[in-house]
Symmetry: C2
Subunit: 468 residues, 2 copies
């Protein structure tokens, strides 16, 4: 799959299937993005010739200039084999087929799909699709056929996303953009006729700038599950692989078959294999975001499940306790001596109303400095492996600097710390203060607890295979 590297960073591209009459056709949307947003040399192709956006249209790939490294194909299914063959003859080794009308529509489409795989193999072409939305690498290329104003595009970062569903991928991009989590690439694999999820996992496994690999999978084709697991076995020791599997219920399974006609496979077997080989399986989109975001911070390992919790609201401590216990995380009770160690560093006026049993409720009277000092003491306790900060910044004594202040205390210790702050514009300074100093912030208490759970699951796996 040497073609993947060029596919995600081509020096010149072609879009086959632009229209001279409909500026909103998928081909035209892709052409405009590659040519004007990504500023890549991009050749529009249509047998009728003409001019698109002031650029002369080439009549075929064959007639196009040399040097094209990626061709995006957006023509009716029946023309795809011919175009693909031309690409092969032209020496283009990376192709994205966005056209639909293949295995997802029945037997005729399926045979067309086999045909294009054969052609790709014959010419050594690495092909993504068909029936996919495209590939997107921030600041490099965007072959999504959706108008720019309809799709959020997150900043450049270290999470690579691979999805069997275009809709799911678009949604993640919206969410990553909104939460300001950067991505390294987003890949819609569609029917995955040739290039599979595991090919991309292997590829991103050796990309230096990728720290987290995230995949949405509906099912595996024949023999594909085994190769997927083998790939994870190889990659997971190096970087976290987070997977969400759709189609697990009976109804979901039926929906899967109309969708990408993939086999949902034996769920129980898959889950066991995932666990054994270090794949972090998420149960829903919330866990997906929690795990992806937490790992994107390259968190310190969590040697055990014991968490010390600081809060400014007793109710939050209660909710976090319930969540933590759902995930098998433990809030160990603190000894009288430990409690006094923390109480002593609090502002004297509030020592009497604060509670230090874990969760430690510093109350709405606590200020930045109370938070800093108590955390500093708590992170030294031998009976905790991580700290959870529940920081609803409504307390008048808490300033917008608290994120940076507390994060700088956390830096001086060797334990994982995660925080909760609601994702509101008015708290942006706090959230940024935490995050630029290395502490991931969940936008709900549940998310912060899930982050710890993800970190703990990965640490446990790395402990088991002897890496940490």
């Amino acid at each position: 799959m040497t073609g993947l590297k060029t596919m995600l960073n081509p020096s010149a591209t072609a879009v086959v299937g632009v229209s001279t009459s409909n500026p909103f056709s998928p081909g035209n949307v892709i052409f405009r993005k590659l040519r004007f947003e990504n500023a890549l040399p991009t050749y529009p192709i249509n047998p009728k010739g003409g001019v698109v956006e002031g650029v002369p249209v080439c009549k075929s790939i064959t007639e196009a200039p040399d040097g094209i490294e990626l061709a995006v194909i957006s023509v009716p299914a029946k023309y795809v084999p011919g175009v693909l063959r031309e690409c092969g003859e032209k020496g283009i080794h990376s192709v994205v087929v966005v056209s639909g009308g293949f295995s997802e529509v029945g037997a005729t489409g399926a045979s067309l799909q086999s045909e294009i795989v054969e052609i790709a193999e014959e010419f050594g072409i690495t092909m993504v699709g068909p029936n996919c939305i495209g590939v997107f690498v921030p600041d490099v290329l965007d072959t999504f056929f959706l108008p720019s104003e309809r799709v959020a595009r997150p900043r450049r970062g270290n999470v690579a996303i691979i999805s069997q569903s275009g809709g799911w991928l678009i949604e993640r991009l919206e969410e990553f953009a909104q939460r300001d989590v950067g991505i390294a690439a987003a890949i819609s694999i569609g029917n995955a006729a040739q290039t599979k999820v595991h090919d991309f996992i292997r590829h991103f496994g050796s990309e230096r700038k990728v720290d987290v690999i995230l995949a949405y999978i509906e099912g595996f084709g024949e023999g594909e599950g085994r190769r997927f697991v083998e790939t994870c076995k190889e990659i997971a020791p190096k970087k976290p692989v987070v997977v969400l599997k759709g189609g697990e219920s009976e109804a979901g399974h039926r929906a899967t078959q109309s969708h990408t006609s993939s086999l949902a496979g034996n769920q129980v077997v898959a889950e066991a294999a995932f666990r054994q080989f270090g794949v972090i399986q998420a149960v829903d989109e919330d866990e997906v975001m929690a795990y992806a975001k937490a790992f994107s911070f390259k968190p310190k390992p969590m040697k055990g499940p014991r968490v010390g919790t600081l809060t400014v609201s007793g109710g939050h401590g209660v909710i976090a306790s319930d969540e933590a216990s759902h995930y098998g995380l433990v809030f160990p009770g603190f000894s009288r001596e430990q409690q006094e160690t923390m109480r002593e560093v609090m502002t004297p006026a509030y020592q009497g109303i604060a509670s230090f049993r874990n969760p430690c409720d510093l109350t709405g009277s606590a200020s930045d400095v109370d938070y800093e000092r108590v955390l500093d003491k708590m992170l030294e306790f031998e009976n905790i492996d991580a700290a959870l900060l529940l920081l609803l910044p409504y307390a008048p004594g808490i300033s917008l600097q608290i994120g940076a202040r507390v994060a700088n205390v956390a830096k001086t210790h060797q334990k994982t710390v995660v925080s909760y702050v609601p994702d509101l514009e008015k708290y942006e300074v706090i959230i940024r203060g935490f995050e630029i100093n290395g502490i991931p912030v969940g936008d709900t208490i549940e998310e912060a607890v899930q982050m710890l759970n993800g970190i703990r699951r990965r640490s446990k796996y790395l402990q088991r295979i002897g890496v940490v």
Copy 2:
């Protein structure tokens, strides 16, 4: 509890515990809100007299003018009994005690708390608190002691919220404001020394403008659980009561005790009682929002668990199927005849690529009119009880009018319809189009499914007691 009506709509108020030296003291924050934001006649009280914000300070409740209907008390705990007695003698029947230092800090505090309950009872005072954040009624009054810029305040609406945790309440206000769900009132009951959750449930049960009652409960005092259940038995047939219970895990239970020193009680018994008497129990904050928002639309009942689903992305159908099956909702397969009925009304060019098995995937090529027509047909099928619209508006053929267009089709049918659209500013026109026309919009697929689940649970209860 006649005092509740005046408490939530007083003609004049007093704030006991303003400071002439510290403008940020809780008393001053409350005073400024009541006097200047709510424009209520409000008297500041401090034994030292002086002037606050240009207003002369009264030396005591006794010396204050007559006509005060609500007193908010924010003085150290030991002074509260004296102030409360003065309120009683002055004929003030509604009091909110925000001061802490009562049962939550141990035995001395607990005895002080018994004392203030006795005084309240002696004088016929309805008291909320102590150790609470206050009460808030949009456009009427706000006794929260938190600076205005720290707390979001949702628009006026029909959801009443009662919470045993101030932090939890503040968070819900942020969330309701962000999602544009209106509230009728928000009550922080703190230690609930005298006025309990069930008193407010009964009160809001007969308030015409309240359509949904939402409560966060950590535990019940002695005998209180029974009264809670009896109240719900009376109110739930009239309007939905949604409850989230904190402190369910062992750790959560310990946290609860440090927090409001209430008894978490026997969870299993509580859940069974909730079910029997029509309380909709939420398992987490996501379900809380889904249920509260869905019920705020006064949805049509859902006679059974069968849901017809329309989507523009196969992956979304798969995810919704998995979620629905988790909640016991069913996506019945559609007969060949039903499928053809829907296919016929689609734009001819896309009839071949759309799938109608349920979930029905109209594909990214579908336009507003396809969505309208297919929904119109589907809502007539006898084998579905509700419709779920998964509408990621990335498809180029979908316009910003789709919300209103589809909602207007739904209006002509007798079945519940809920939709999913990501909660992004660029989709606001779509979301508003749905919502002003009576269709609640979930901001995740999961939330839309949870909405249906809440509606189904309530319908089932109303069927059981013979109301529908």
